[in-house]
């Protein structure tokens, strides 16, 4: 038997083609599939949410009772009474308001307000220190009421479940799966920003119904730090869960003009 010297061929066991194109096709294809799935689920959830009774809602979420800060000083007690009173006044302009709306304080330095499923709104003690007028506070409460009006807790929960499903499906595939999961998370924030904008519009309409004008309502946004650089701005626009502050203010100014709401007016100072 003769030994035939032969060189290994380069194209049999290893493809000659660059894997980049292959990878791009897979990545874009998967992104499209995930995108369609995500969009379809979100639409479906938005359709179903109005049929879920409000009484079921609070049972779907973990308990938050221990978060409520019991007022300690006389200042805090007065503030809480004021909050309850303001809340009763502005929510009276919302005929379909659910039962069991409450507002309380949360011991936290960051100025923020939160709406918990079931009707409990909490305003942080940090926000209490920042807010100067009743109109400003009424808008913040109105915004939180807007989340109830939009059934945003259920929508967010549905979106969270969809994201968890996508993440689980991508789970074993390493960095590629992480990237697709992360992209859907960022896409999800667009929906979150839309919810916030709608809550803003709802809050502003309550403020107008109560005070007759929009003046002073958006003062709170001027107090939030704005991103400085242009690239920082563009990025934070896409990555944020809430719209950028000055864009929110602009959107509300446009809304006020569109609805012909009076812009001039006196804001009631808070004692």
């Amino acid at each position: 038997m003769r030994f035939e010297p032969r060189l290994p061929r380069d194209d049999v066991n290893a493809p000659a083609r660059s894997p980049v194109k292959d990878g791009l096709v897979m990545l874009l294809g998967l992104a499209a599939i995930v995108g369609v799935f995500f969009g379809a689920t979100t639409l479906l959830i938005d359709r179903l949410v109005p049929y879920v009774p409000r009484s079921w809602e609070s049972r779907m979420f973990p308990d938050f009772e221990e978060l409520v800060h019991q007022p300690e000083t006389e200042d805090e007690r007065a503030y809480e009474r004021h909050l309850e009173d303001l809340m009763a006044r502005i929510s009276s302009h919302w005929p379909e308001r659910p039962d069991g709306l409450h507002v309380g304080l949360l011991d936290e330095e960051l100025p923020n307000a939160l709406a918990f499923p079931g009707g409990q709104i909490l305003v942080t003690t940090g926000l209490m220190k920042e807010v100067e007028s009743e109109n400003e506070l009424a808008f913040i409460l109105g915004h939180e009421l807007g989340h109830y009006a939009g059934r945003d807790h259920l929508r967010s929960l549905g979106r969270g479940l969809t994201l968890a499903l996508i993440m689980a499906a991508m789970g074993k595939s390493g960095a590629a799966g992480d990237l697709i999961g992360l992209s859907s998370q960022i896409t999800g924030r667009a929906f979150s920003r839309e919810q916030e904008s709608r809550a803003d519009a709802f809050g502003l309409s309550l403020v107008v119904a109560e005070f007759g004008h929009v003046s002073g309502a958006t003062d709170f946004f001027e107090k939030l730090p704005a991103p400085k650089s242009k690239i920082g701005r563009t990025l934070s626009t896409y990555l944020a869960t809430h719209p950028v502050s000055d864009e929110r203010v602009e959107a509300m100014e446009r809304l006020a003009i569109e609805k012909d709401w009076p812009v001039e007016g006196r804001a009631n100072p808070l004692e």
Binding site: P8, G23, L27, L30, S173, G174, A175, A176, L235
Partner: protein, 162 residues
């Protein structure tokens, strides 16, 4: 700005681009080098069955080995991760393993030649997974390719004694 998200996005992107360019340049260089070495040693008899010389006799034998340990880069792993979702040939791993096998065979031949052996008989290839710890696809995965065979020294058959 959400810096954490930004980092989560930019770091993999930078790693991908970096790994792709470094990885393909190393791969091209290795293939060039392999072709030269393979060409130079193509007449070195290497067979997978017991070699039986015709006009010569076997005067010595030994075990010759060549081994390579390889791991994947970030880019190749990324593509393989996508493949795990959709199925099919993992094209990003194929050149890597092809290079490893050919390199292992070359090392075995060099081992045999350095020892003064003329032929490699009964050559085999073995692959073993040597490290993939965490099981969540994030541990460092490495593979060893071992080429081994029996190196034979041949000598002219002496004429039969009268």
């Amino acid at each position: 700005m959400d810096t954490a998200t930004l980092i989560q996005l930019l770091v993999p992107a930078a790693l991908l681009v970096g790994a792709y360019f470094i990885g393909s340049s190393i791969e091209k260089k290795h293939y060039r080098e392999l072709r030269t070495r393979e060409h130079a040693s193509r007449r070195f008899i290497t067979v997978t069955f017991p070699y039986e010389p015709r006009d010569e006799e076997i005067v010595a034998s030994t075990l010759v080995t060549g081994s390579v340990v390889i791991s994947v880069d970030y880019f190749k792993r990324f593509l393989a991760g996508l493949r795990m979702l959709v199925g099919g040939r993992i094209k990003s791993y194929e050149p890597l393993l092809d290079r490893a096998r050919r390199e292992a065979i070359m090392r075995m031949k060099e081992d045999a030649r350095a020892g003064g052996y003329h032929v490699i008989s009964n050559m085999r290839l073995e692959t073993s997974r040597i490290a993939s710890s965490s099981g969540n696809n994030k541990g460092t995965a490495a593979v060893e390719i071992l080429a081994f065979g029996t190196g034979l020294k041949l000598a002219r058959r002496r004429p039969a004694t009268p």
